[in-house]
């Protein structure tokens, strides 16, 4: 099995080392913005963009930077990228911009952005860094969207409400109402629901992982038994 290279980076970023579920980085936006799918998707996209650009940028400049100013330079680069993205969102997705509020500039301190810059982009070539940025971003977006979906469904019984914020007029039709006169379980939308929801998703991931592992190890185990008998 050859898992090195791009595929592994992708798998790590999206699943094995998922920032939201495993590394527990970037928790603030993850929890704060995931009260609906659309919010989650929006911030996820923005973060993905920032991650991609900043990873590429850091990878490009990695030979120019001295260790003592490494962090400030990264921070500076990321801050510039974020500001540009922020301005763009303000211009083209004003509704979403208002909803996400302070969490757009806070992408700067999203631990996973600087974390990837430090841990990956700084040590790898541009192409790999780009893939890593995309993978990490996708992973983060996955976490955001999943959590957003769970919270939205449980909390208000809808999916893709306010999709127009992201997709414009087109999005208005996207909203799904899952049950008529669903009373809504406010807890899911309120802060405690974010924590508990993420906790449950992580537990779910653990269960899936252990199933996978179980299946993987099940085979050799039977071989052993056969060998014995």
């Amino acid at each position: 099995m050859n898992e090195t290279g791009y595929l592994k980076i992708l798998k790590d970023g999206v699943w094995t080392q998922n920032t939201g579920f495993v590394a527990l980085l970037g928790l603030c936006p993850l929890l704060a913005v995931s009260n609906s799918v659309v919010n989650g998707l929006g911030l996820g996209l923005a973060t993905l963009l920032v991650l991609l650009i900043s990873n590429v940028a850091v990878s490009l400049i990695r030979n120019l930077v001295r260790p003592e100013v490494r962090i400030p330079v990264f921070v500076l680069v990321i801050a510039c990228v974020v500001t540009a993205v922020e301005l763009a969102m303000h211009a083209f997705l004003p509704g979403l911009y208002t909803v996400l509020g302070i969490f757009i500039p806070l992408i700067v301190t999203n631990c996973c952005v600087i974390g990837r810059a430090e841990a990956f982009a700084f040590k790898h070539k541009v192409a790999k860094s780009a893939v890593d940025g995309i993978a990490t971003g996708l992973g983060f977006m996955l976490a955001l969207t999943l959590l957003g979906a769970v919270r939205e469904v449980v909390g208000q019984g809808t999916l893709f409400s306010q999709a127009d914020l992201l997709f414009g007029e087109l999005g208005k039709g996207l909203t799904l109402h899952l049950a008529d006169n669903y009373r809504g379980f406010l807890l899911a939308i309120l802060p405690p629901g974010a924590f508990i929801g993420l906790g449950c998703l992580i537990a779910l991931k653990n269960i899936i992982d252990s199933r996978i592992q179980h299946r993987a190890t099940a085979q050799p185990a039977t071989v052993l038994i056969e060998a014995k008998s």
Binding site: P67, V69, L76
Partner: protein, 183 residues
């Protein structure tokens, strides 16, 4: 636009000055963590961790090259202690590096020993006594049970035997087991 660039470059410049100053004035000192890690390792010097001795393994851990669960002689307690020291989550021992075994000591079958001194050279803690062409003995109290003397012996006269339990080495066991038996 010009104002923007000027303001930020000034700020960045000042920061740079400060940080450059800091970088030289406050160089990072040596890494005391290695000693702390080494103090936890059992000093069996057996090499099961994949490093030639405990200290190299300690250095590897400190450098982030080795995981904390590679030392079977240290057992579960060792891993927990390392995890505690390094602020990580404890994990089970990596079976690739062997499993926890009961404490053993080496014993040389004195009838068969040809006095080749190879085991003496292999023993990392000088626990074997003897001179060339004379029968060798293991000082049981110094032997760490690392098994490194077994392979070199040309006549296979060294055996590892479990340390026998006596009243003085006996320990109360973890109660869960007894509790279940009682229930």
């Amino acid at each position: 636009m010009i104002a923007a660039i000027v303001v930020l470059s000034v700020m960045a410049g000042v920061s740079g000055l400060l940080l450059g100053f800091a970088a030289v004035r406050f160089k990072v000192e040596g890494d005391p963590i290695v000693d702390k890690i080494d103090a936890i390792l059992p000093q069996t010097q057996c090499g099961q961790c994949g490093y030639p001795g405990c200290r190299p393994y300690a250095e590897a851990i400190a450098a982030g090259e080795a995981d904390i669960n590679q030392c079977p002689p240290g057992g579960e307690n060792g891993v927990t202690a390392l995890a505690d020291l390094l602020g990580r989550d404890p994990k089970p021992l990596n079976a690739e590096h062997g499993v926890v075994k009961p404490k053993m000591v080496a014993v040389i079958d004195e009838q068969n020993c040809i006095g080749c001194t190879l085991c003496i050279q292999a023993c990392p803690v000088d626990a074997i006594l003897g001179a060339a062409k004379h029968m060798h003995t293991v000082i049981a109290s110094e032997c760490t049970g690392c098994e490194l003397c077994i392979a070199p012996c040309p006549v296979d006269c060294i055996d590892m035997i479990p340390v026998a339990q006596t009243i003085t080495t006996w320990k109360w066991t973890y109660p869960a087991v007894t509790a279940k038996a009682a229930a």
